[in-house]
């Protein structure tokens, strides 16, 4: 029997994919730390991303937009805060400080975990 909510299946898939994206964000931020040491590219980067910071921005931007569209404003705001922080860092001459992203990423992880729990 079809669900009365036409978006129900897509919402469930989005939550599952969000877990994967947040895990990728975690890896990218860790890679950014490594890149500061070794200057090597990260394995989680899209071909269009020149740096880990660009990859983090892209992923966070996607999460913010999709979460808002699916009706999860708190998660959208958490992802947007991460995106804004990385963008702001990109507008300065200073290198990205991955440590400053940790609280924002942790907040986003909490939102995704909460969504996953409420969907069970």
């Amino acid at each position: 029997m079809p669900s009365p909510d036409p978006l129900a299946d897509l919402r469930a898939r989005f939550i599952e994919r969000s877990r994967e994206r947040v895990a990728s964000l975690r890896q990218l931020i860790d890679a950014a730390v490594e890149d500061r040491v070794r200057g090597s590219p990260s394995a989680d980067m899209h071909e269009a991303d020149a740096t880990p910071a660009e990859a983090i921005t892209r992923l966070a931007h996607q999460l913010a937009g999709a979460a808002g569209t699916f009706g999860y404003p708190a998660m959208s705001r958490a992802a947007a805060a991460l995106e804004d922080r990385v963008r702001a860092a990109g507008q300065t001459a200073r290198p990205l400080d991955p440590g400053s992203l940790e609280p924002l990423l942790a907040a986003l992880e909490r939102r995704v975990t909460e969504l996953g729990a409420s969907a069970c």
Binding site: P6, L7, L10, R13, F14, R17, H46, E47, A48, H61, Q62, A64, G65, A66, A67, G68, T69, F70, S76
Partner: protein, 159 residues
């Protein structure tokens, strides 16, 4: 709420405020049938396809970026293009520019869907020829309604 933004009066260059209700008189104007969507985010793309197709009853073709949109021509020239602004490979702005250069697609209205809706950004979209902007995040269940209105307005505005 879907925020559908209407284009400015081009003679004045003024960008209109966000419009949230269908105020245009659409009776008697052409109905929107075929839409080509370009969106690189698979979740949003799936929502748009469902919203316009299954919910809205439109014929929808989805692409992951602007280059794929251009590759559809001339086999598929829709009634309207709905383009994300930020996409890899070819973004929405460049896609619009190329569509306008092609006589086969130059008259097809282009609507952007984007989270980048600051006044200066809106001015850029409309100056380039966008027929409207759907601000992200949007309400999927009213998306077809807003697209239909923007489409009708774009047809109505033609000389």
């Amino acid at each position: 709420m879907t925020r559908a933004e209407t284009p400015p009066n081009r003679s004045s260059g003024r960008v209109s405020a966000v419009a949230s209700s269908a105020t245009a008189a659409t009776a008697g104007l052409p109905r929107l049938g075929r839409v080509v969507v370009a969106e690189d985010d698979p979740d949003i793309c799936a929502v748009v396809v469902l919203a316009l197709g299954r919910v809205g009853g439109l014929e929808v073709t989805a692409c992951a970026d602007g280059r794929a949109v251009l590759d559809l021509v001339p086999d598929l020239v829709p009634d309207l293009y709905l383009l994300d602004v930020m996409m890899p490979e070819m973004d929405g702005l460049e896609t619009l520019r190329r569509l306008e250069l092609d006589p086969r697609t130059a008259a097809v209205p282009v609507i952007f869907m984007t989270a980048r809706v600051r006044p200066t950004e809106l001015e850029t979209y409309y100056r380039m020829g966008a027929a409207g902007v759907i601000a992200k995040p949007f309400d999927p269940l009213t998306l077809t309604h807003h697209l239909q209105r923007l489409y009708a307005e774009s047809r109505h505005a033609e000389p």
